[in-house]
């Protein structure tokens, strides 16, 4: 492909300046290329190095934005990736027949099982899996170009995990889209504006106090709260997602509730309420805040992804 093994890999001319900062060592590319046996899947060294460049620069080799990665940092980053899965995925995306044979041998049945587990229905599961296969084969095109979702796989995490997550995304999006399109069968009666004995002003103060208290929570605390109270997930399910013990989630949940309660009372007091009035406004059970929590947590997306979206 016109690139000698020891030669650093560079991108297009327009990106040459930025790429030069993170050019991958040719020796490292050679070593990884041989280790992955990428040639066996039809990936030449040049193509392989281009993939590495794309994967590495996509997340700046796991470093902060703007920070230049040293050769050792690059090597450490690539060693942490599932390069075997990455090579197979890219070979499939490139249409290599042997790669597809391998892919089907490994992932066909597990993928169908995953789809059935996600949908909870065999028919729907098979349908979902077939639909994803269609996309993976590149049956969909964009701007006249064949698109394969496997090109977006970058080796962080397993390929099977990526397939499962993609299936879950498709299912959730499909379910949500279908729910939006369904006509409302009955008219939801609006919730009562205010509880007995509480004025709108008090509710506004309470809502503000709860909002401030929630804002002071850390992201993981808000995630646990939302998962438990909004999604109705069990402690075990939350623990699996966060990779901690179930008891840890339980303790965290209890502590966060207590802290929020204290913070809300404090906020109410600073808003002019007496402590007794603040306690009464809050109620005895912190879970009384459920409605406000839902409203507050679901109202906006995180700032981090807003920035990326812009």
């Amino acid at each position: 492909v016109g690139i000698t093994p020891a030669q650093p890999v560079e991108g297009d001319a327009s990106e040459r300046v930025s790429a030069a900062r993170s050019a991958i060592d040719g020796v490292l590319v050679d070593a990884l290329w041989l280790e992955c046996e990428a040639a066996g899947w039809g990936l030449e060294r040049g193509e392989f190095s281009r993939i590495l460049q794309e994967v590495g620069t996509a997340h700046n080799f796991g470093l902060e934005d703007g920070e230049a990665a040293s050769r050792l940092q690059q090597a450490a980053y690539f060693r942490g990736l599932r390069l075997g899965d990455l090579v197979l995925a890219r070979a499939c995306a490139a249409g290599d027949e042997r790669a597809w044979e391998r892919f089907m041998a490994i992932y066909r049945e597990p993928l169908a099982r995953a789809a059935i587990a996600i949908t909870g229905n065999e028919t729907l599961g098979r349908e979902l899996a077939d639909q994803l296969y269609g996309e993976l084969y590149g049956l969909t095109t964009r701007d006249g170009e064949r698109r394969c979702p496997l090109e977006s796989y970058r080796g962080r995490g397993s390929l099977m995990g990526w397939l499962r997550t993609t299936l879950a995304q498709r299912h959730v999006d499909h379910y949500r889209r279908r729910r939006r399109e369904e006509p409302l069968e009955e008219f939801d009666t609006p919730a009562a504006e205010a509880e007995v004995g509480q004025t709108n002003a008090e509710l506004t103060v309470l809502e503000k106090a709860v909002e401030e208290a929630l804002r002071s929570c850390e992201a993981e605390e808000r995630l646990v709260l939302a998962a438990y109270y909004l999604d109705g997930r069990t402690l075990l399910q939350i623990a699996r997602v966060l990779d901690v013990h179930e008891a840890t989630v339980s303790r965290k949940l209890k502590r966060v509730c207590e802290e929020i309660r204290k913070q809300v009372v404090k906020n109410l007091e600073s808003a002019g309420m007496s402590r007794r009035a603040a306690e009464e406004a809050l109620g005895a059970d912190p879970r009384d805040l459920d409605v406000n929590l839902k409203k507050l947590l679901q109202s906006s997306q995180s700032d981090a992804f807003k920035e990326r979206a812009g």
Binding site: E37, G40, W41, H59, G80, R98, E101, R102, A105, I106, Y107, E109, P110, R113, A114, A117, I118, R147, P149, S152, R154, R156, G157, S158, M160, G161, W162, R164, T165, T166, L167, A168, Q169, H171, V172, D173, A219, E220, R222, L223, L225, A226, A227, L230, D231, R233, Q237, R240, V241, L297, Q298, S300, Q301, S302, D303, A304, F305, K306, R308, A309
Partner: protein
């Protein structure tokens, strides 16, 4: 990072969510995903579903990968052969090391047992020879003999520096805490002051005779050592359950009721180790305690750290770093300074021991001894009035 669907551009893509679920993200990016998940029900749902599906599929996937490896032999990696061979070598090496270590441990155990028996015989012989010797000499000899006999678990280094005193000869300069049969002493020479209790029985008083018999049998039948050791460990666990030991833990062990009544005493100790010492006269157990954190004894009036402390008859006598002596009653809240009645600088205080190895118990007899920096000894019954020995 973002998905290809513009409508979903506010969400992390499948790769990021999967990397999060598989704990493959760095701290910074994980924080961003967590922040997003906290606010996005859709992505939480995706992660839950993918995670739950993963739990049902792992074994199946492993089988599929193995099967695929068999059918695609043209692309089999060569590394497995190399790794298999290397793994075999590593396993063989580990086995050889384990066998060698076991042999060395066995040899060492035999040596230790031989040394124990030899030291015990020497101690007994010296006891007989020094029967008419002054009482102090007897006490020091006995303490040295006890120290020279290593406890089975004393080989576990690192728990306390004071443990390393056991095999060192006892001198007036070093003045380690005396090991007195049936009594307890502690050294405050460092912050992790260690209290040690040596007893001649294994349980409460009514079982004492039988236990001594059992320990005597131990010397002849080595195989029963395990059962006695188990008994001691059981008792250690029982003591740990109490978790509050006073300086008079001698009585706590023998009479648990006393211990419970003394729960709120000022000094509390945590049992860290209980070990068995074999001697010619039978088995002895050694219990070692550390003061519980935050429950250190009240500071001395001099402001200096205590270097040596002994307790008996409800009295605690201690020497600070400057050689000043202080006494305190158990129920008292503060230290009382003792007028100097000795020459030189006091470096240690200890309990006096009778020829039979028991703490002096007569009301008129001396209980405490202090040793000055020249090795001279003074005795006292109340810790306040001292006379030269």
């Amino acid at each position: 990072m973002m998905g290809s669907n513009p409508k979903l551009d506010l969400h992390p893509d499948a790769e990021s969510l999967n990397a999060f679920a598989e704990q493959a993200l760095g701290e910074r990016e994980r924080g961003r995903i967590v922040a997003h998940l906290a606010e996005c029900g859709r992505c939480r749902e995706v992660v839950y579903l993918a995670r739950e599906a993963a739990g049902e599929m792992e074994p199946e996937l492993a089988v599929a990968v193995a099967a695929a490896g068999r059918v695609t032999d043209s692309f089999e990696r060569k590394e497995p052969h190399f790794w298999n061979r290397r793994t075999a070598w590593v396993a063989a090496g580990a086995l050889a090391v384990a066998v060698t270590a076991a042999y060395v441990a066995h040899v060492r155990q035999v040596e230790v047992a031989t040394e124990q028996a030899k030291a015990a015989r020497e101690a007994a012989a010296r006891t007989e020879e020094m029967a008419a010797a002054p009482e102090t000499a007897q006490m020091e000899m006995k303490a040295t003999a006890l120290q020279a006999v290593p406890a089975p678990t004393a080989a576990k280094k690192g728990k306390s520096e004071a443990t390393s005193h056991e095999l060192q000869p006892m001198t007036a300069e070093a003045a380690p805490p005396p090991l007195v049969a049936g009594a307890m002493a502690k050294s405050s020479s460092d912050e992790r002051a260690l209290a040690r209790k040596v007893g001649d029985g294994f349980s409460n008083d009514e079982r004492r005779g039988r236990d001594v018999d059992r320990s005597g049998q131990l010397l002849q039948e080595n195989h029963s050592r395990k059962s006695v050791w188990g008994h001691l460990k059981f008792r250690a666990r029982r003591l740990e359950l109490l978790h509050r030991q006073t300086r008079r833990s001698r009585w706590c062990i023998r009479r648990r009721g006393d211990c419970m009544r003394q729960r709120h005493a000022q000094h509390r100790w945590t049992l860290i180790e209980i070990s068995l010492v074999l001697g010619p006269a039978g088995g002895k157990w050694v219990a070692e305690f550390l003061p519980m954190a935050g429950r250190e004894p009240a500071a001395l009036p001099s402001g200096l750290p205590a270097v040596s402390t002994a307790s008996a008859r409800g009295l605690t006598v201690t020497v600070d770093g400057a050689g000043a002596l202080f006494v305190r009653e158990d129920a008292g809240s503060g230290w009382e300074s003792v007028t100097k009645q000795w020459s030189g600088r006091a470096v240690a205080v200890r309990l006096q021991v009778s020829a039979a190895g028991a703490i002096a118990s007569s009301s008129a007899g001396a209980v405490f001894e202090i040793v000055n920096d020249q090795g001279k000894v003074w005795v006292s019954a109340d810790g306040r009035n001292w006379k030269s020995k």
